[in-house]
Amino acid sequence: MRIFLLQQLFLWVCMVVVVVLIAFLPRDLVFVSEEYETYGIATMNMQLYGERLSEYVAMIGAGSLGENRYGTSVLVDLHLYASRSLQLIGIASIIAIFIGTAKAYFDTRYKGIFARSSRKIGQGMQALPDFFIIIVVQMVVLWLFRQGFPQFSLYGNEDLSSFLFAAVLLSLFPSMYFANIVASTLESEEGSFYLIAAKGRGVKKSVLLIKHQLANALPSIIQQIPIMFMYLLSNLLMVEFLTSFRGAMYRTYQAMGFQETSLESLPNQFYIEEPVIVVYLTFFISLGFLVNIGSRVMTEIVTRRRLS
């Protein structure tokens, strides 16, 4: 375990270094203002690279991770946006795991037309672009509003309703993924000796599914969680982008210079906030590592309990 953690730590450090190296690639931005418009002119300057990097390292040495464009510490910035995203991720994960397990149970328990089509839909969904589905869902909801459906806020993160809406959108794909994983793991357990034995003893199918199959499939399901998490993260970008949910992904996107562009089409590369990019990417990397480590530890615990 110790070696594993050290290995993870080493990889973590490597990834953060890569992020810093990329984020600080030399871009010399010159800002010029005219009336209502501000232009950023980007030029490549190789000499700057070393300077920028050493400046950044010096700053970290001085105990600061840098500031955002308003001069606020990036950690404060991170706190605000990342906590929103974490809540969203948390709720969406719970929904995904719950719905996913329920759907998997339904799909494996029953063999009727509904279960079969539910399974087909689950598989088909994964083949579709998430953002397109989200757009369509948005359109349907807007259409419902115009038909007199009680309105709620679709965008942003202020209202509970918009928050939940984003969480539901976010959980859409991961729950399908999770359901597929669980279902196929359950199925792979099928036909194993203990099941036949239990069946022979007249154990109810539902009890069998939950008590035996699920319990036995747990380690392999837990091992899939990091992948589901990655799924969730890439969806998070789309969901935050499409619902204007001001979370960590949205903020990263902003920090990369993709401002909310005004009608006069401000240049894309308005501001690039390198320290913000670094700290947010580090945040996501850390999340990935945490989930990975967590899943390994859980697997170990579950496996041990089973063995003992």
């Binding site: 375990m1 070696i3 594993f4 390994r296 697997t299 170990e300």
Partner: protein, 335 residues
């Protein structure tokens, strides 16, 4: 007198293959971190020799390490320890590239006729491949060779354009035999070549193998999991249990006078055609112990009807009990 290995008899028979103190340990990876937590002693200190032109049968339950032994002799697996001498050359540690030319003289027939033929190659390609690798003959010669081999093993020459999935198990095993013969080897190691086949087909294949042995002056190492199969074809039989040899003896000697309790148990299980001959069936108790955690002392003591205290403590050595008859059992050694 105890011996760690059979001593070569002054005999006109030429020894073609010899293994000494051969061991193969597979590491067991455990836990999430895939650390080595133990070893499976698949083959544990086995010594054997095979004379040119004879058929040595190796018998053991599945998991006794007999296939591993066969594969090690082919150097398909690298031994953990010990020596393999082929034709007087030590091949246990030489590099794979140096072994390649030797493979011409040593071929293998595999257990599963379905798995041992590449499903994506035509039968002709399959039989031709060893020749191609050993660069024997021109393309035309090889084709002719393929045809004659096919006919020799009892298949039509059109078969060479077909694919393995179009043949039955017995036919496939014939293809496997034709492939093994294609480089004119001296030794063929048959890794349970008939155990996957239907009983009626088994004898056909065995007969074919016997015919071929005469025609091609082959030496067979014939691995099987029960004694009935090797009864007819073998000259000598070695019995393996849990990675070790229990008994080695000329066939007739072994069947007439099995010494090791395990051999006795095996022989009692062989169905007999002679109704008059009444034999007491010895039923072994319990399962085969895990090779990862073999019993101390004699590995067979957990199931041995004759086990006594010494068996649990001390590992029996190979003891010569007659001409070419060796046994590893405390019943026959003095403490």
């Amino acid at each position: 007198m105890t011996m760690s290995q059979p001593v070569k008899e002054p005999n006109e028979k030429k020894e073609i293959l010899r293994v000494q103190n051969l061991k193969k340990y597979f590491p067991i990876k455990g836990g999430v971190l895939k650390r080595t937590v133990g070893h499976v002693k698949a083959v544990d200190d086995v010594s054997l020799h095979i004379f040119e032109g004879e058929t040595l049968g190796i018998v053991g339950e599945s998991g006794s390490g007999k296939s591993t032994l066969g594969r090690m002799m082919m150097r398909l697996l690298d031994p953990t320890e010990g020596q393999i001498t082929f034709n007087g050359v030590d091949i246990s540690t030489i590099r794979q590239s140096k072994i390649r030319p030797l493979r011409k003289d040593m071929q293998m027939i595999f257990q599963d006729p379905y798995a041992s033929l590449n499903p994506r190659m035509s039968v002709g390609e399959i039989i031709e491949e060893p020749m191609l690798i050993q660069k024997t003959g021109s393309s035309k010669e090889r084709q002719e060779n393929v045809i004659s081999l096919l006919e020799r093993v009892g298949l039509q020459q059109e078969a060479r354009y077909k694919y393995p999935h179009e043949f039955s198990g017995g036919q496939r095993q014939r293809i496997g035999i034709a492939r093994a013969l294609s480089t004119r080897p001296k030794v063929i190691i048959g890794d349970e070549p008939v155990s996957a086949l239907d009983v009626s087909v088994q004898s056909q294949v065995l007969n074919l193998m016997e015919d071929l042995q005469n025609d091609f002056q082959l030496t067979y190492l014939f691995i099987a999991h029960d004694l009935s199969v090797v009864k007819h074809i073998s000259d000598r039989v070695a019995v393996m249990y849990l990675g070790r040899l229990a008994e080695v003896a000329p066939k007739d000697d072994l069947y007439a006078n099995p010494l090791h309790p395990y051999t006795q148990a095996l022989i009692s299980a062989v169905p007999t055609t002679d109704i008059d001959e009444k034999r007491e069936r010895i039923i072994l108790q319990g399962d085969l112990p895990s090779p990862a955690n073999p019993p101390s002392g004699c590995p067979f003591h957990t199931r041995c009807p004759e086990a006594h205290e010494r068996c649990t403590l001390e590992r029996p050595e190979m003891t010569k009990m007659g001409e070419e008859h060796y046994v590893a059992c405390h019943l026959y050694t003095q403490s």
